[in-house]
């Protein structure tokens, strides 16, 4: 499930700002705000924070093969991508087509080409670490009260799953400061943000958040921690948050981490400390047939149909007993095995004193 056909870092893909694109439909004051705060725009082909209608050279698109089977592709003139249904030629099959189109591959099978979203990216990104999925991301975003304009700090960046979702939510006027202690990962994340047209919305720092903090102070509306020892970073989180207050969230798989983190949060004066866990249940929609059991006949209708009279061919055949009616119904059937735990989420508020 790795990223295929990657545009290698620094190979000179032309990035440009697509002005003809109708991503910003607000009028009046809203538009002005956007323009005012967009001093650090890069010229990009496409963006994870803005929809485009047609597939363009340089885009990252999602090739959808079937139910939960997909992969991302970097669109490039002259490139081909292999799928199990055959080859996709970027120049003729992708570029200029509408997002959402059905593309027929060389072997006759077809796929859909989808516009990237942070959620599709989460399902398809190359894993460099364990990642956060959309169920946790959803509640994190709401409980941190994120919205356009929010300033967020995050550590660690990891594989960038949450980062993309955070950037999407705080764009176009907010910013993400994300800290990753693993150098390789930090660099890969920077590269992805550049390719996805969101680098103007994010600052990646390669340092140890527990020792060196987030590199910013008193500017964040929210802080998110997904590190092995979150309790060691609570002090840094507090100083990154605005003096007037803000929200914090820590994600930890183990309850012992949560216990220490809650103690640290209390120590640093955080309030509304609340730990929760959220799990997704997916249901398969199925048509189920249940047999009606053969209870035989009562005395009254002894002469009616049944295998005794209608099927005299072979006595003792139990199959005849089973020639029964069935009842059909639709059911939402849970999967046999599901995710039982991702992690505990602890939220708290930095109060003004």
């Amino acid at each position: 499930m790795g990223l295929r056909d990657e545009c290698a870092a620094g190979d000179g893909c032309m990035l440009r700002w697509d002005c003809g694109h109708s991503g910003l439909r607000g009028t009046g004051a809203s538009t002005e705000l956007w323009v005012t705060s967009s001093a650090n725009y890069r010229i990009v082909t496409m963006s994870f924070v803005e929809y485009g209608d047609t597939i363009k050279d340089g885009d990252t698109a999602i090739v959808f093969l079937g139910h939960e089977s997909m992969f991302p592709v970097k669109v490039q003139h002259g490139t081909v991508t292999q799928t199990k249904y055959g080859v996709i030629r970027h120049s003729t099959d992708l570029i200029g087509k509408k997002y959402g189109s059905k593309v027929t591959c060389s072997k006759g099978g077809w796929v859909f080409i989808l516009h990237p979203t942070p959620e599709l990216w989460t399902m398809n990104l190359p894993h460099r670490t364990q990642i956060l999925y959309s169920t946790d991301i959803s509640i994190i975003t709401m409980m941190l009260e994120l919205k356009p304009g929010s300033i967020v700090c995050e550590s660690g960046t990891g594989s960038g799953s949450l980062s993309h979702a955070l950037i999407r939510t705080v764009a176009p006027t907010g910013h993400l400061y994300t800290v990753e202690f693993h150098q390789q990962r930090a660099e890969k994340a920077r590269e992805e943000f550049r390719e996805h047209g969101v680098e103007h919305l994010v600052t990646v720092t390669n340092q140890d958040v527990c020792k060196n903090g987030f590199g910013v102070s008193n500017i964040a509306d929210a802080v998110f921690l997904d590190i092995p020892s979150p309790w060691e970073a609570i002090g840094h989180a507090k100083s990154a948050l605005k003096a007037e207050g803000g929200r914090i969230c820590s994600f930890s798989p183990c309850i012992e981490q949560v216990q220490r983190t809650c103690l640290a949060m209390e120590e640093y004066g955080f309030t509304e400390i609340n730990t929760l866990e959220i799990l997704l249940r997916v249901y398969n929609v199925k048509t189920i047939s249940l047999q009606i059991p053969d209870l035989g006949k009562a005395a009254e209708d002894n002469s009616s149909t049944g295998f005794d009279s209608s099927n005299p061919s072979h006595q003792g055949s139990p199959c005849a007993n089973l020639q029964q009616g069935t009842v059909q119904f639709k059911s939402g059937v849970p999967l046999r095995e599901v995710v039982g735990h991702t992690g505990y989420l602890t939220f708290a508020t930095k109060s003004l004193v």
């Binding site: 439909r25 607000g26 809203s30 929809y51 989808l114 409980m143 356009p148 949560v258 103690l263 003004l352």
Partner: protein
Amino acid sequence: MEGGPGARIREGDCAVLKRDEVFKAVSVLRRRKIIFEKQWFYLDNAIGHVYGTTFEVTSGGNLQPKQEVEETTTETKEAGTDNRNIVDDGKSQKLTHDDIKALKDKGIKGQEIVQQLIENSTTFRDKTEFAQDKYIKKKKKKYEAVITIVKPSTRILSTMYYAREPGKINHLRYDTLAQMLTLGNIHAGIKMIVMETCAGLVLGAVMERMGGYGSIIQMYPGGGPVRAATGCFGFPKAFFDNLHEFPLSKVQSLLSGTFTETLPAEPEENTLVEEDSNGLSEDKQQEPEEEPPPEAPMDINPTEERDAMDINAEDAEFKESKEKENKENVREKQIKQWERRKKLREAAALLREKNADGLIVASKFHPTPLLLSLLEFVAPSRPFVVYCQYKEPLLECYTKLRERGGVINLKLSETWLRNYQVLPDRSHPKLTMSGGGGYLLSGITVVPEKGRAECAHAEETKLEEPSSKRCKLQGLPC
């Protein structure tokens, strides 16, 4: 951004009162008595303080900022090791009800009353530390009148509505709403279609996430859109500039292309305009700059929990605003009608482009007809999310959508939410949890195929729904 941390409480603001886990939305008005958690008080003294401040209710119903939010410390933290010697005879508290009432009447603060209760309990010292904490917490809750005033947000309002008036929001749990916003990829700059009967809470959440960038078309049933909860967010006026509304009852005619022709002259249209002006007048009420939202939205008796199926709620609101309107100047009404008509045309034009960036449905209606028609207005490769309190209608909706085609990655899901108590040596999941937060059906639109069986690609169909392979030529049943 306006209303971020550090904002001050102003007269006319929409604010939320908080005590422990209980919330209530109010308008900040002078000389207005508020009743919250069996306490009454005035908000006058809160004006000018920063959001997030905790106040204590003092005699006369005045709010006074609380100095320290520290735990009551029992001077002698003596604790028993277990409860084997405690005989429960109901006589362990020496203070009588009358004694306590006398303390209260003297204006003794809650914290002091709790301290007196502890000192007059014969069994307190024999209780285990755990039991002591439990006792203090219980008594504090009963006698200390402390409230915090917080700035409204989707987090706070969705939690509040789910706890206090789940019937008004079709029992949509806050974490389910959170999923909708993420699955719907709601962000600045998009064009969204929202169809909800959740008192405007879902609309407000979408508006918050769009931050005033982009546009929203709210589809509404009946006389006009309900936006009681939307008003509680306290959005700046500019947020409403690109909020449009369009009546559900005109969807079919819009889709069939007959909408513009019938707009100007027919009597039916008069009806429509009148309805819309009602919708607007209610809408206007919710904009804080013009007229602060009344306390009413959340001020109904909390024990009277309306059923999600109750269709009378809206009628009542409608009639109320109708009576009010009758007193209004006819001239003014005509101007408003003209404005409404203009906005209706704008909304129709936006829909007609059929390039919306997403669709969110969360209503008391059967979702299938809504989805089958409203998806027509959505561009390809865009997400849609439907909420329903029950699973069964979404099973049907799933089946119908697969028959229709033009959608992929359909997923029926639910979330489980569990809160925890994390305390030294006493950590465990909370003893009660929500039984259900409702169900979501989500998916992604694709370019619809013309005249081609959706199931030509056998493998695809199999992958999408393994057990039921209903094939049908694509044809729109609406």
